[in-house]
Every structure is written in structure tokens, then in C-alpha cells.
Symmetry: C2
DNA sequence: TCAAAAGTGTTCGGACTACACCCATGA
DNA sequence: TCATGGGTGTAGTCCGAACACTTTTGA
């Protein structure tokens, strides 16, 4: 016998803002919504929470459904609750944002959901309040990446410093001095130099680096100051 | 006719982690739970969301019920969703954290809820996962206060720099150099010196200051670096 | 040999820290 | 006059930002 009898129950969903990086540009993964309302329109990938899972498990399940992968970087962003956000029935949605290495999973995309990668700045209009979620996720990512090495989650195992810089420049829609950038990044001690070079993007070639996972975990929460004049980007 | 028919509905609640500062120490406001399960035990103040309000409105309503006040600093922290967190029925809870000037409201506390202020470090055991919520809120507050002037929300209109320092020391459970502290705080330009002094805490007396609200709003998101070696406190 | 990108070096100013010292006042 | 906080000053160090220069190599 429940004592919460007078209270109204409602639907709880998870929506995922999924960022990817293809080596040059930052992208967002969205799907064509499969059900009414707004069927056929672009939407964040989401799903309803099930009785025996918590929100993070739900977000992981949703991500696996769509991309086939597990163990992605996943972070709870915020819960959205405007009463009329879903016109059909009241649904509160918890937004999660995910960072994935696009190259690894580009071909595994589920066709069932008509998933597609868009350039972050050229994405289509999204349904409901999903636009607001993406904007908040972007803002949060900028904030976080200015202090913590979170963007490494978007890179493949081996990457070059110019690639890393392109990623930062994509996230901040800005341009940084490459000389200061590489020195700053190397000074963190997070990178391990490899013997091979990447010759695709220049004649001289740029050395590959690999993330020191141990140091990465240990130093993640420290203030690392990756970008110059971070205040500029926190509007 | 709903198309989400197969999905399970559940209860959604808000719980508030309410911090206060009495001029010397940091405190937490908790209540005696009025209903089963766990009736009579200490708990965060909370309530179920209603059909026509969003989460922030709900948190504000809950705060007003308890303290009689509106317009408090309020921030969504995280949503807690372990299936068995409430043993009676599945309830997902959105944790909000609030900062209030304790002096202003100490006497208005609602007796209906048996509310009580505890020293943050000497609080009683709380029900469900409320302990986890408080710990997370504390961590978040430390993080945020190390970069942004959020702690001013805990102070009365007029305050002295030694008081402000006591507040920071309480939050970080640490001791800072008063000479560097005052210089750093004054250099932000956020404080407006008053003519009167506070003579209660020393013979010489300390000047009162007032927050420049305009500059506070404008600079809130900037990185201000209030405490030395912030990395130490981000564990 | 030359263009284009990768990467190292240098200088300057400002911020943070540690610590010494003076100030005001009530008892 | 002295003990007790309040408040200002200073020197050294480190870090970030701006900018010059060298290195490598394919075409």
C-alpha cells in the first residue's frame, strides 16, 4: 500500500547529446524520430527509463542501441522539465552528453534510427527543447575543456598535436597560437610521444602521441588551463 | 490517446541542499521527515513535482514552504535515480542546492517541518541517498567557489573581509593567508567599501563592504581564482 | 630550391605566494 | 603599553602570451 497515493506519476526519459570529432571538425549525432509526435523530424537520441535501471544505465543503453558501443564518456548534464515540453504527455528528460571517437564508430551507426552526423554548426533544427540541450551541452563542454583534459575522449588512440589543436579550435570556434599550444599541452605530461609520424597533413609530418591514461585519470580534476584567455569563451 | 502507453510512469521529486553561513560557520538546513517511510528521521527538505510546474518552480516552492522566503540562489545539481533509492516506490529525485543568508531567515523557520540548522560537519545521518547529495553539493560548491564569487550569496548585505575569509575557510576547511586573501578579493573590484566598521570581532574594527551587484552579475562567469592552490581541494 | 607545416627558443609582464611590517584600539 | 586582529608593502618566482626562428620534406 503506497503512501504517495496523491502524487502524480510521469514519464522520465533520457536524451543524449553526442559529440564526435573526425580529425578536422566537431560533429553532432542525431536521429530521425521514429514515433509521433514529430515523427520523421530530427531529434536527439533518447529513450524512456526502465523500472530496473538508473539514468546512467539508461543513457548507456540508448547509446549502445544507436552506435553499438559501450564505455563511452558520458556525463549527466541537466534535467529538463517544462510541463509542455512534450506536447503529447508530460515527460521530464534528463540530458546526458557523450563524447566519442567518430572514426571508430562511424560505420557502425544503426540504420534503424536513421542516425546521421552533422557538423555542429550546421545541424538541422531539432524537436522539442533539444536545441536548448545542445546549446547547454556546448557551453558546458567549452567550460569543462578549458580546465580539464576532457577533449581527449574525442580522439583516437594515436593523434598528433596539430590534430588536437584543430579539435580545440573547433570547440572554441577560434584560433590559437600553435607554438604556445603545443608547449602547454606537452607541459601537462599527459602525452606519450610515439615513434611514427602522421604524414597525411604535412610534408614534414607530425609525431603521433598517445594519452597516458593513468596520468589522465589522476589529473583529470586538476585545473590545467588549456586555452588562452578562457574568460572570453564563458559568456 | 497516448502513444507512450507501454512506458512506466514514476514519481519525480526535488530535494534541496540548503547551505547557510551565520558569520562564523557553514551550516546545513534539514528537516524531520513527516511521513513514512523513515518518518521522524532527518532528511533534506523536498517535495513532489506538480503537474503545472517545472523543477525550478518546484524547488522554489519547497524552499518557500520551509523558510518563507523567495528569490534564493538556487541551482540544479544532479538527478538521482537508483531504482531502490526510495524503498516504498520508485522515485527519481532532482537535487537542488541553495545558498541563503542565515541571519535573515533564522527565525522564520517553519515549525511545521521541524527544520533545524546543523554545522555542516556535525550534521546527523540523513535518509535515503541524501548523504550522497550533500557530499556532492559540497564538492560542487568548493569547485564553483574556487572560480566564481558564488559565496557572496551566503553573506548579508554588509560584511567585512575577515568575515568573508572565515566563510571561505569554512567551505574549504582550511586556512588562508589573510594578507593575500584581502588583496585578492579587493582586486576583483566586486566590493564597495562602506564608512562604518564592524567592532564586534576586534578592537581595531574591520570595515564593512557591500557587493557591487552589477559587477557581480557581469563577472560571475569569469575565472576569478579566489583561493590559493585550488587543485588541492578538487579531489 | 621553395613552400608549408612542425616544432623550439626568447622575452616580457603580470599574477601568485610567502613573509615583514605598520595601524588602530580596548582593556 | 600591550595584546589582538586589521590592513599594506615587497621580493622572488612562475606562468602565460606574443612573436622569431629553425627544421623537415614533398613536389
Amino acid at each position: 500500500m503506497t503512501r504517495y497515493a496523491k502524487q502524480k506519476r510521469l514519464l522520465l526519459a533520457v536524451d543524449c547529446i553526442i559529440f564526435g570529432f573526425d580529425g578536422h571538425e566537431v560533429k553532432l549525432l542525431v536521429v530521425k524520430r521514429a514515433m509521433d509526435p514529430e515523427k520523421g523530424k530530427w531529434s536527439l537520441m533518447g529513450g524512456f527509463i526502465r523500472p530496473n535501471e538508473n539514468l546512467k544505465e539508461c543513457a548507456n543503453r540508448v547509446l549502445k542501441q544507436l552506435t553499438g558501443i559501450e564505455g563511452v564518456y558520458l556525463e549527466q548534464l541537466r534535467t529538463f522539465s517544462k510541463p509542455e515540453r512534450d506536447p503529447l504527455e508530460r515527460t521530464v528528460s534528463v540530458a546526458y552528453f557523450a563524447l566519442i571517437d567518430i572514426n571508430k564508430y562511424e560505420k557502425q551507426l544503426s540504420h534503424e534510427y536513421s542516425a546521421e552526423w552533422f557538423l555542429l554548426n550546421q545541424r538541422p533544427k531539432l524537436i522539442f527543447d533539444h536545441e536548448e540541450m545542445v546549446r547547454l551541452a556546448q557551453k558546458h563542454l567549452r567550460y569543462k575543456a578549458s580546465l580539464h583534459p576532457v577533449l581527449f575522449e574525442l580522439l583516437p588512440e594515436k593523434f598528433t598535436i596539430p590534430q588536437l589543436q584543430e579539435l580545440y579550435e573547433g570547440i572554441y570556434d577560434s584560433h590559437f597560437d600553435n607554438r604556445n599550444f603545443s608547449r602547454k599541452v606537452l607541459s601537462t605530461g599527459l602525452l606519450v610521444k610515439q615513434k611514427e609520424k602522421d604524414k597525411k597533413n604535412s610534408k614534414k609530418g607530425a609525431f603521433f602521441y598517445r594519452l597516458d591514461r593513468k596520468k589522465y585519470k589522476a589529473d583529470f580534476q586538476a585545473f590545467l588551463n588549456f586555452i588562452p584567455n578562457p574568460d572570453k569563451f564563458l559568456s
